[in-house]
């Protein structure tokens, strides 16, 4: 049997922080008095997210999600709901752009501290078919706040 150590790219993809968010998602559940809600799914793989926001005076006061999917999509959703709390909608959309840039392999974005824990997902850019997983919650957020 092959007992070689796992590939370093794989170890980077499935690092502790990501698995922790996958197994103990933050802000999972439904939100009372949500002002924005959107459901998105990826028809190819079946990943699902229901995202709810409570926006007050253009500030995201709270974000919660219900989702089913792979470790990458669920960890990304969990991290995102933490990061966008108390951000203005333009700030949240700017973060969505930075996240997207990081997925395209932009090293500057991967070092951008404003992305917080989400930088742990930088390794996803090495796995092109998984990029859509990491961006699913961000696409939901963008859809939710669309005027």
């Amino acid at each position: 049997m092959d007992t070689s150590p796992p590939d370093p790219q794989l170890s980077a993809l499935y690092q502790e922080l990501i698995l922790d968010h996958y197994r103990r998602p933050r802000n999972k559940g439904t939100l009372e008095h949500a002002t924005h809600a959107v459901s998105l799914n990826n028809p190819l793989c079946g990943d699902e997210i229901d995202l709810q926001l409570r926006v007050d005076d253009d500030i995201i006061k709270e974000a919660r999600f219900i989702g089913r999917g792979c470790s990458i999509s669920q960890a990304a959703a969990s991290m995102m709901t933490q990061l966008v709390k108390d951000k203005s909608i333009p700030q949240a959309l700017a973060l969505a752009d930075r996240m997207s840039a990081m997925m395209q392999g932009d090293d500057g974005a991967a070092r951008d501290k404003t992305l917080g824990e989400l930088r742990a997902l930088a390794g996803v850019s090495k796995f092109p078919v998984r990029i859509k997983c990491a961006l699913l919650p961000w696409n939901a957020l963008t859809d939710a706040v669309k005027p």
């Binding site: 092959d2 796992p6 794989l10 793989c45 079946g46 990943d47 470790s71 998984r130």
Partner: protein, 411 residues
């Protein structure tokens, strides 16, 4: 077991390495690799025989037509069709089923009628019937499956009480590998007055299929899942049904005479083959059939059953792995669907890919089935004649690594 090394040498793609490892291709239920004989047949057709079929008066066009019609006869013999003219070439199973729904279905299913499908049908044998029933005001009835992944015969019987116009089911489930008791289901459906549509996408490549003995009315198959080219496939039907059906697509080839405001139609099967057909696909499919016949489908089925049994044995020894579908050896094809603890199937597929192992992860175009299994997705390994026991070992070994990566250390 088959002499796998001998067959592998016939498949150029299998010699490739993936991510630095020998390729372990276990996604055969999605599509199979192609032997050199099929590639050669396609190249040879274009080098020596290419012209439009059923049109030209010159010798080259006649040879192209002969090659196309010889492929039809070969496929008819391979599945023991009722007659070669009962074989309509299509892009694959999906188009074949859409043809039946769009032509036979529209002409025969009326408001208040019912159409029966099963909870293990592929979306291609479900959505066309949904569309038909919505259009006609008919009822779609989905037959349940049992816990071990078989069609629930009691529920099948109840669905027949409404005397449905059409009953559709898969011969072999693409997601579970279940080999359904097709002949028995056909008999029951006929006794209730229904016309029977069998999705043969997963049976034709792997089992000896005898349509006259099976006695269904329509049978759909795909060439690319049986060593043939993508975009090749067929609807095989009882000729008298095809005769009575209205055309599906209009255009050249399918007509007899055309006036300003109407037309008369060609004989079957040409009535259903509007436009220039996929001759290269038909020729390649005939070469694939030749390859399969030289091995024999009984031997292929036996080989795949042995691989599936070995895979189930190895996988279920890994703590946390759940294998879906029937456990009997005789009613299971070479498809093994599984989950592994809380590791999502997509994560499993990504991890296995780094070891050069290709499996499918997802809903397998069977979302109603996934709901019944209470999962959003499964991982699926599916075998063919060129897979060996060493590849089952590689699969199990890579899964253990995936478990370690996710913190599943077997006791």
């Amino acid at each position: 077991m088959l002499d796998v090394a001998r067959f592998r040498a016939d498949f150029p793609l299998l010699a490739q390495r993936e991510n630095g490892h020998p390729l372990v291709y276990l996604d055969n239920a999605a599509t199979t690799q192609k032997p050199q004989a099929v590639l050669d047949a396609i190249v040879e057709y274009y080098r020596t025989t290419n012209a439009n079929v059923h049109r030209g008066a010159y010798d080259l066009a006649i040879r192209a037509t002969e090659a196309y019609e010889a492929a039809r006869a070969k496929l008819a013999e391979f599945v023991n069709a009722w007659a070669p003219e009962g074989v309509v070439f299509t892009r694959g199973t999906t188009e074949a089923i859409n043809l039946v729904a769009g032509s036979y279905g529209r002409a025969n299913v009326k408001a208040g009628d019912s159409v029966v499908v099963t909870a293990m049908d592929h979306h291609s044998n479900l959505v066309p019937w949904q569309i038909l029933c919505q259009e006609q005001g008919a009822t779609l009835r989905m037959v349940e499956i049992t816990e071990d992944g078989r069609i629930d015969l009691a529920d099948f019987g109840r669905a027949l009480e409404r005397r449905p116009k059409i009953v559709a089911f898969p011969y072999v489930s693409n997601a579970l590998g279940t080999v359904n008791p097709a002949a028995q289901l056909v008999k029951l459906a006929h006794a209730a007055g229904a016309v029977v549509v069998v999705d043969g996408a997963q049976s034709t490549p792997h089992l000896k299929v005898d349509l006259q003995a099976l006695d269904c009315d329509f049978y759909a198959l795909s060439g690319h899942k049986m060593l043939g080219p993508m975009g090749s496939g067929a609807l095989v039907a009882k000729p008298e049904l095809l005769e009575a059906m209205p055309p599906y697509h209009g255009g050249g080839e399918m007509i007899s005479r055309v006036w300003d405001d109407h037309a008369t139609y060609n004989k079957i099967p040409h009535k259903f083959e509007a436009g220039t057909p996929n001759v290269e696909g038909a020729v390649g499919l005939a070469a694939a059939i030749g390859y399969l016949e030289r091995i024999g489908r009984e031997r292929i089925a036996e080989h795949e059953q042995a691989l599936a049994a070995a895979a189930i044995d190895k996988l279920t020894q890994i703590e946390g792995v759940t294998v879906y579908g029937p456990r009997g050896k005789s009613d299971r094809a070479g498809v093994v669907s599984f989950t592994y603890g809380d590791i999502h199937p997509h994560d499993i597929a990504t991890i296995l890919d780094q070891d050069g192992i290709c499996i499918r992860a997802g809903h397998h175009c069977a979302q109603p089935l996934m709901r019944r299994l209470n999962v959003t997705a499964t991982a699926r390994a599916s075998f063919y004649l060129y897979n060996g026991l060493d590849e089952v070992d590689a699969l199990a070994g890579a899964l253990v690594k995936a478990g370690a990566l996710f913190g599943y250390v077997p006791a």
